[in-house]
Symmetry: C2
Subunit: 381 residues, 2 copies
């Protein structure tokens, strides 16, 4: 027996037994039992005709979720941040001017990635939680004339929803491609990919789709695909090279990498659950749960951080009342009923609670349950 | 009801029901039932103390699998190819000289990634299936004096195992870091990270670890971590930035990305199954199964592609007999008993079968079952 083996065998690793959590944070969200069943089905090979069919089904179902009839949909074998990096590394060439609507943490991450890809980044700064009017968006883009525009549709760090219509229209006027971060919107609120005019959207599986984290669904316009086919500089990332991934997943099915089979099973099932409910019914259910949530929060005398017309239905930022230690409230919720919520960070550290009402939890009954426990946790603090 | 919703609801997606396969290919391999149970356990948040513990357990158990007492072990949230790209993007600076032992497909992929990262690549070319002697390895490295040396420990495309001892010794003489591709070796054959002197090893979950694909375990020497801390040029990839991932997974546990929780559950359980068997017992079991396999193959009058002393115990390349259509043989196996094996590709297209005997399948009984069916499939052709 080797030293290593001895060291490991004397360690006591208990059996895996995760605690039961009510995931009311910004994600991961609760997972449907059917999705847990799907994720544990026996795997087949990544080039097996059955798996190719699963990938095809996922692509088709993603068109429903993104709201597109003819976008190229595909899935990156990494989490939402891998989707962001796929968008940046494929559509931002070294030296390209990238205009970023900077009103939260994920626009900062986009900035960081664009800089690492040697872009010339210009930012339109706003406070965390604010959004951009149509006129502001247009003026910025017309003035800067960038090659790429990036905005965050639903900003997880602030709870603000940014409409993309004016951004996309202005970007297309100046010949720019638009990257839209839809990590927190997909599946919970409409993305309207085609109508909005987004060129490159990426998301994750663990928020509005109510699936475990691990994959990044993307939608890419024909315009963006044509641009990519014509790109002459090499894409730095081989793993995230969209032309190669598209070829494997949709065109030739030639080996690129070994796709995470079990995660694809899970994503397919999560999308099936959504299709069976009807995506518009699902959005409506989330809207109703959100309204109940806000009503309850305001009845408690608390304030929402984002103005009513710019809130994300699935992710609420509630201001921490004066004198309350938000970390203690979160601890009370986790240690007591096992409810996970998140705090703010960056400029919003200590100032907001971030509370997700998504997927299976987006019902009036679950909102009532949450508000009751939240009130108790605040009182205990 | 929208156009998209109508289109989706009229499609008929059958319930997920993957066919039962015997995965005798180069990977993914068969998954232990305990791992399927673990992957379907309820998720917790990615910053939950329980999940931090799971990540810590996985890191500890990986030391056993890699054969290291003090390497930094961590897990990339992507497949084995993401591990390769993490190795290249973190340890290859633009303009760096990278010496690659080029004797199969995965050294070509390393070449491609290194070139995309603007490296100056020099290659020591050999035919697919050949390996390098100690003297050859030393001479190449002493002559080229690279900053980075990359070799493939177990080459999935050829079935050849390359010892890293002389490579690492010579590389360290000239001050180079060594990247070792352990995608097909980890968990099935000894990697001996410390003894060999590898600086950066990456692997996957779906081969020797008998877990579904989706994560890339890595081991990094203290020497390589020190080099990385001192690196001044930015790492192009934010998603694969090892300093940030190490900080999230091991040091501060500050949010970097949302780790694939369910996949970590699965990997922890797969490593537990290995620890309980004993890693050295497991290697021995694979060695024995491999010997039975080779004996059976030779008794059938067939030939192994790689000389006996350089074979990977877990992945066998068997030469296709003259006049046999290997694709038909594979089809017979898949359509009949549901056995997946792979063919060769590149210079070995049509010339070899690639047959994995890994994890739960690495027993004499399963080898007998396989050989019986393989013989039938060859006869049918």
């Amino acid at each position: 027996m080797s030293v290593i083996e001895q060291a490991t065998s004397t360690l006591h690793f208990p059996a895996l037994k995760p605690p039961q959590r009510y995931l009311f944070g910004p994600g991961p969200s609760m997972v449907h039992p059917r999705v847990y069943e799907a994720i544990s089905k026996p795997i087949v090979g990544h080039l097996d005709a059955y798996f190719i069919q699963v990938m095809g089904d996922v692509q088709q179902l993603l068109k429903m979720a993104f709201g597109s009839s003819d976008a190229v949909t595909l899935v990156i074998s990494g989490t939402g941040s891998a989707g962001m990096e796929a968008a940046v590394s494929n559509f931002v060439e070294p030296g390209a001017k990238v205009a970023i609507f900077a009103n939260g943490y994920f626009s900062d991450r986009l900035t960081e990635m664009a800089k690492r890809h040697a872009a010339n980044v210009v930012r339109f700064e706003k406070a965390w939680g604010e959004t951009y009017s149509e006129a502001e968006a247009r003026d910025f883009i017309r003035r800067e004339k960038p090659q790429v525009v990036a905005f965050v549709h639903a900003e997880t760090s602030t709870g603000a929803l940014q409409s993309g219509h004016a951004i996309c229209a202005a970007a297309h006027e100046v010949g720019a491609l638009v990257i839209g971060d839809c990590v927190t919107s997909l599946g919970g609120v409409p993305v309207d990919f085609d109508q909005t005019g987004i060129d490159v959207a990426y998301s994750c599986t663990q928020k509005g789709l109510s699936c475990p984290p691990g994959l990044a669904p993307m939608a890419i316009s024909e315009r963006a695909m044509a641009w990519l086919r014509a790109r002459t500089t090499p894409v730095r990332s081989w793993y995230l090279d969209i032309k190669l991934i598209h070829d494997y997943s949709t065109v030739s099915h030639r080996y690129h990498h070994t796709a995470p089979i079990s995660m694809f099973y899970a994503l397919r099932e999560a999308l099936m659950v959504i299709a069976e409910e009807g995506i518009e019914n699902r959005w409506e259910r989330h809207r109703r749960a959100h309204q109940s949530f806000v009503k309850g929060i305001e009845a408690m005398g608390l304030q929402m951080h984002v103005p009513a017309e710019h809130r994300i239905a699935t992710l609420n930022t509630v201001r921490v009342p004066q004198g309350v230690d938000e970390a203690k409230v979160r601890k009370n919720l986790l240690d007591g009923p096992g409810i996970e919520i998140a705090g703010g960070f960056g400029p919003l550290a200590g100032k907001v609670f971030r509370i997700g009402v998504m997927g299976p939890l987006a019902t009036e009954g679950n909102v009532e349950f949450f508000l009751r426990e939240f009130k108790k946790a605040l009182a205990q603090e």
